[in-house]
Amino acid sequence: MLALPVQAHEMVPTYPRLEMSHVDGLLKTTMKMFNKRADVEYYEVGVFDEDFNPVPFVTAYNVFKLDYLSHTVFDIYIRAKDRERAVYVCSKSKIRKDSNTKTAIASKICSKFEDKR
């Protein structure tokens, strides 16, 4: 029996809830990510509208390092006036240019804000 390594990217929750933050006029949600892709070290986070146009947001790092088999929890802040526009929060794997694989797969997971379900 051959055991193949699993290369997985996951982010929860699927339907994050925006809540008031400690800063006036900003809404906050918290996301969790797990990197089970040994070939990926960096992920990029973005917030998008219904048509996947970018919506302004703030987080600690838009592109952050997440080691293999590591978890991270990060907060996303958006302006209260962008609440209606913001539909998706997505994380995308960043493939290194010097990757040795001949074809690579960029994985992207998009959660949807709960009030847009």
Binding site: Q7, V12, P13, D39, K97, K102, I105, A106, K112
Partner: protein
Amino acid sequence: MFIKKLALTTGLMLVPFATIAAEVPITGTVESRCIIQTSTPGTYGNPNAYTLSTQAADGGDQAVVRFDVSLADAYYAEITPPLAFSSAPNLPDQVSWTGEVSVQSVSDATGMGTYETDKLELGNTDRYTLTATGSTWFAIHSTATMGGNKAFPGGTYTAVAEAVCIAK
């Protein structure tokens, strides 16, 4: 007599072990989620000087990506074959791309049997509605053809397919 003593001694020795045994609860919660697993990254074969292909007949290896979902009818899978090289030597001409995505296998033949026929083709992207919980494996084929029947220069070529899981 000796056997009785031995049994008593053994019994006494076991008491401390019995008393230190305790239940250690391991708890967890399962959140609905979509997980993208890159089962096979894929490789290009070089059947002739001006073609790179992931078809097995061309010496290549298709990329395979697996989607695991734990909530039914809550996600779309969108898969886009490569449309450019992310790294390559200097190319002598334009490259034309063709790609194809198909369901390779499913964990629930009843609930997922219509994924392939129900898919939407949005330009170069194929969209599947993941209506059942479980795993779906998608095969991604890619072919790059150099314009003007010119040869691909020697070197390493990398192209990136994109697999996206979007909450409905």
